[in-house]
C-alpha cells in the first residue's frame, strides 16, 4: 500500500513539475545583452512589470535564429518577446517563426517612417564604428582604407565573424562609395571583390561573435583596432575609457521587437511591446543610455538629442544604413560563404 502511495505522489510531483513552467512562466524577453539591456531591464521590462503587476524576466542571445526556429518547430516556446535585427525579422516573418503583430494593441502611428513591419515593431537604432585605444596605440586608423594598411597600423584588428557588416567594411575599404555599395555587393564580381579584400588582412584579424568581445579584446590589448557596437563603446568611455569613435565609419540599422510564434503569452507580449515603444519609458531610458528609438516623438525630442550626442540617428548622414532587403535576399548565401571562407 505504502509503495503505491509513494508512486502516486511521485506521479503527481512529476505532472506538476511538467505543467508548472507552462502555467507560471514569467513573461520572457530576450535581447542582445550589454549596457542597453541592463538599462532596458530597469526602464522597460521592470517598469512594465511594476505598472501591470506582471512578472517579466529577460535573457541574452547572440542573434542565433536557430534557437527560435527550433522552439517553434518543437512547439516549446520559452521566449515571448525577442529583439531581432531587421533581415532576421523579415526572414523569420516569412518563415513563420514570428507572430504578425496586433496593431490594435500596438499603436503603429507613434513610429518613425518604416519603423514597423508585419512582424516587428522598431525598438532602437544601433551601429558599429571603428575605434582603438590611444593609451596603447597613439594613432589609429581614421577610416576603413586605413584599417587595411598593416604597415602604417600594425597589430591585430577585430571584426565581426559574419558576412553582414564585414563585407560592407571590406568594400568601403576598397574604395566603393557608400551609395553604390549594395549594388556592387549584389553582383558576383562585387562579392568576390569583398572576399578578395578580406583575404588581404585575414592573418591580421581576430574575429568576434558577441558584442562584448571587441571591447574585451581592445581592453586586454589583444587587438589594437576594432569595429564594434558604438553604444557599448560610449558606455566604456563613460566608465573611464578614452576610445575615439570614428563616426565616419558608422554602419547602422534598427533592431525590432518581435513575438515568437505560438507564444503562450502572446496577448501580454503585444502589450509589453506597446509599452516598450511608448514615449515615456523611452525618454526615461534615454537618461541613462544613448538610445536611438524608433518612436518618432522621442527620436525628434531636442532634449533627448542634446543629451545623447552618441545617438546613431544623429550621425545618419555620415554613416551607411545597412540594407535590410539586401540581407534578406543574400544573407543565407553570404553567411554560409563567409563561414566557409573563414575556415579555409
Amino acid at each position: 500500500m505504502k509503495t503505491i502511495n509513494i508512486a502516486r505522489a511521485g506521479l503527481i510531483v512529476a505532472v506538476l513539475a511538467a505543467a508548472a513552467p507552462a502555467l507560471a512562466r514569467d513573461l520572457m524577453v530576450v535581447g542582445f545583452g550589454g549596457g542597453f539591456q541592463d538599462n532596458a531591464r530597469k526602464h522597460l521590462f521592470q517598469a512594465y512589470a511594476a505598472e501591470k503587476g506582471v512578472k517579466v524576466a529577460d535573457d541574452v542571445y547572440n542573434g542565433e535564429m536557430a534557437k527560435v526556429y527550433s522552439m517553434v518547430k518543437a512547439n516549446d516556446v520559452t521566449t515571448d518577446v525577442i529583439m531581432v535585427e531587421a533581415p532576421e525579422l523579415v526572414r523569420g516573418c516569412e518563415d513563420g517563426v514570428f507572430e504578425k503583430l496586433d496593431w490594435s494593441v500596438i499603436d503603429q502611428k507613434k513610429f518613425i517612417p518604416n519603423g514597423t513591419t508585419a512582424c516587428g515593431a522598431g525598438a532602437v537604432g544601433w551601429g558599429v564604428t571603428l575605434f582603438h585605444d590611444p593609451a596603447r596605440t597613439p594613432t589609429g586608423p581614421a577610416n576603413y582604407a586605413d584599417l587595411w594598411d598593416v604597415q602604417k597600423f600594425p597589430g591585430k584588428r577585430t571584426l565581426r565573424s559574419g558576412a553582414k557588416m564585414t563585407l560592407e567594411v571590406a568594400l568601403l575599404a576598397d574604395g566603393v562609395a557608400a551609395a553604390d555599395l549594395y549594388k556592387v555587393l549584389a553582383t558576383p564580381d562585387g562579392q568576390k571583390r569583398a572576399f578578395d579584400k578580406l583575404d588581404k588582412i585575414k592573418p591580421h584579424v581576430l574575429w568576434w561573435k558577441s558584442g562584448a568581445q571587441p571591447l574585451q579584446l581592445i581592453g586586454s590589448g589583444e587587438a589594437a583596432y576594432a569595429v564594434g557596437y558604438v553604444g557599448r563603446t560610449i558606455l566604456a568611455n563613460k566608465n573611464g575609457a578614452k576610445y575615439p569613435i570614428q563616426w565616419n565609419t558608422l554602419l547602422f540599422s534598427f533592431d525590432y521587437w518581435a513575438v515568437v510564434r505560438n507564444s503562450p503569452n502572446k496577448a501580454e507580449a503585444m502589450k509589453l511591446i506597446n509599452f516598450m515603444t511608448d514615449a515615456k519609458p523611452l525618454t526615461n531610458l534615454a537618461q541613462d543610455w544613448a538610445v536611438s528609438p524608433a518612436n518618432a516623438a522621442v527620436a525628434n525630442d531636442p532634449a533627448v538629442i542634446a543629451k545623447n550626442p552618441g545617438m546613431v540617428a544623429n550621425h545618419a548622414k555620415e554613416g551607411l544604413f545597412i540594407n535590410t532587403e539586401f540581407w534578406v535576399e543574400h544573407g543565407a548565401d553570404l553567411e554560409a560563404r563567409f563561414n566557409a571562407w573563414l575556415a579555409k
Binding site: S70, G92, D95, D333, E335, R337, W341, A343
Partner: protein, 397 residues
C-alpha cells in the same frame, strides 16, 4: 543445477539488465538513429507542396513538366507563403543551389499576375522556369530521401548525371575533416608521450607519494573543461603571465602571439585530455609483475633492451587504450578550439554547431556528424589492425 533453476536465473538476469539496456537504447541508440535519419531525410518540399510533389514524381523528367505541376506549384507556394510556412522549402532549395530563394520569392511576389497557362506566364516572368534541369532539381527534392547533405559534406553534389564536385566556394569539408584528424592525431601523440613517464613515475612511487601524485592528475580531471580552457586563454594572452615573464626576462621584445593559434589549441587540448591517457597506463603499469624485468636482467639484457623488449610491449595495451580514448574525444572537440584557436584551427564540430545554431540546416549538421562518426570508426578499426597492443589481451608473455 536443474534446467528450471537455470532458466529462472536467466529471466532474473535479463530483468536486472533491462533498465540498463533501456537506458542505452534511449540515451544512445535513439539519438544516433535520429541523427542518421536526419542526414538523409528530405521532406520539406513534399510537406509544403504535396500536389506539386505528386505530379513531379509522375513526370518523366525529360521535357518540361505538365501545366498541372506549374499550376499547383504556384498555388501551393503562394499558400505556404501566406501561412508563413515557406521558410523550410526556401532554405532547402537555396542550399542546393544559391539563388533559388530569390527565384521562388520573385514568383510568389508576382503570383497575382501569373495566370493560365501558368507554364507560359512563369517563363515570361523569368526564363529560368523553362529550364527542365531546374524542375529535375525540384523532382529530386521531393524526397523522401536525399544524398545531398552527405555528398556536400564530402565536397560533392548530386546532379542529373550523377555525382559531381561541389562549387569551389562550398568545398570546405574535406580539408576540415583532414584538419580534425590531424589535430586529433597530434594531440593523441603528445598525450601518449607525456602520459608515459608520468604514469611510470606514479606506478613506482611509494604509496603515500603516489596518492599525492594521483590527486594532481585527478583534480584537473574533475575541473570543468570550460574552466581549464579559459585558464589557458588567460595564461596565453598577449598581456598574460607568460608574455609578461618573457618580456621581463628580456627574452622577447614584442609579446608573442600565442592565443588564437594552433599552438594554443594543442596545449589546451593536451592539458584537458592528458588524464585520459595517464589513467589506463597507470593501471596497466601498476598491475605489471616486476618478475619479467628481473628475469630479463638476470639473463643479461641491458636497461634499454629490457624497456624496449619487455616493458614497452607489456604496457602497450595501456598506451593503446589511453590513446584511443584521447583520439575519440579529440575528434569531437568544440569548445577548446572555439575559445583559444583561430578560424584556421576549428574542427568539424564547429561547422556542426554552425549548421545547428546559425544556419538552421539540420540535415547538414546530421550529415557531418554521421560522417565524422563513420570516419572515426574506420580509423579505430584500422588502428586495431595495425598498432600493436590494440587488441585487448595482446600481452604476449
Amino acid at each position: 543445477m536443474s534446467s528450471r533453476l537455470a532458466s529462472r536465473r536467466n529471466v532474473m538476469a535479463a530483468a536486472l539488465i533491462a533498465p540498463l539496456f533501456l537506458l542505452v537504447a534511449l540515451s544512445f541508440l535513439a539519438p544516433l538513429a535520429t541523427t542518421l535519419y536526419r542526414a538523409i531525410e528530405d521532406s520539406d518540399f513534399s510537406l509544403a507542396l504535396p500536389k506539386t510533389s505528386r505530379s513531379l514524381q509522375q513526370w518523366d523528367g525529360v521535357a518540361l513538366p505538365p501545366e498541372e505541376a506549374f499550376r499547383s506549384f504556384v498555388e501551393e507556394l503562394r499558400q505556404a507563403q501566406q501561412d508563413q510556412a515557406a521558410g523550410a522549402i526556401l532554405n532547402r532549395l537555396n542550399f542546393e543551389e544559391t539563388g533559388l530563394r530569390t527565384l521562388l520569392l520573385q514568383a510568389t511576389r508576382a503570383s497575382g499576375r501569373l495566370a493560365e497557362p501558368y507554364r507560359d506566364s512563369m517563363i515570361a516572368l523569368n526564363p529560368r522556369w523553362g529550364d527542365p534541369a531546374l524542375w529535375r532539381l525540384f523532382k529530386r527534392a521531393t524526397g523522401p530521401f536525399t544524398s545531398l547533405f552527405l555528398l556536400r559534406s564530402l565536397d560533392l553534389k548530386p546532379t542529373d548525371q550523377g555525382v559531381a564536385k561541389a562549387a569551389a566556394q562550398d568545398a570546405v569539408f574535406l580539408p576540415l575533416f583532414w584538419r580534425t584528424f590531424e589535430i586529433s592525431l597530434v594531440v593523441t601523440i603528445l598525450c601518449a608521450l607525456l602520459a608515459y613517464p608520468v604514469a611510470y613515475t606514479l606506478s613506482i612511487l611509494p604509496q603515500g607519494w603516489a596518492n599525492v601524485g594521483m590527486m594532481l592528475v585527478l583534480i584537473p580531471f574533475w575541473t570543468s573543461i570550460l574552466v581549464r580552457t579559459t585558464a589557458w586563454f588567460i595564461i596565453l594572452q598577449r598581456e598574460g603571465p607568460i608574455n609578461a615573464l618573457l618580456m621581463a626576462m628580456t627574452l622577447v621584445d614584442q609579446p608573442l602571439t600565442m592565443i588564437f593559434t594552433r599552438f594554443a589549441v594543442y596545449i589546451a587540448m593536451v592539458h584537458v585530455l592528458l588524464p585520459f591517457a595517464i589513467l589506463p597506463l597507470y593501471s596497466v603499469m601498476k598491475g605489471l609483475k616486476p618478475d619479467y624485468m628481473r628475469a630479463a636482467a638476470s639473463l643479461g639484457a641491458p636497461g634499454w633492451k629490457r624497456f624496449l623488449r619487455i616493458y614497452l610491449p607489456l604496457t602497450m595495451p595501456g598506451v593503446a587504450a589511453g590513446s584511443l580514448m584521447v583520439f575519440m574525444l579529440s575528434v569531437g572537440f568544440y569548445i577548446t578550439p572555439a575559445l583559444v584557436g583561430g578560424p584556421g584551427d576549428q574542427m568539424v564540430s564547429s561547422f556542426i554547431a554552425f549548421f545547428t545554431n546559425v544556419s538552421v540546416n539540420w540535415g547538414m549538421a546530421a550529415a557531418l556528424a554521421t560522417l565524422l562518426m563513420a570516419m572515426t570508426g574506420v580509423l579505430v578499426v584500422v588502428a586495431r589492425l595495425v598498432v600493436p597492443g590494440f587488441r585487448s589481451g595482446g600481452v604476449k608473455a
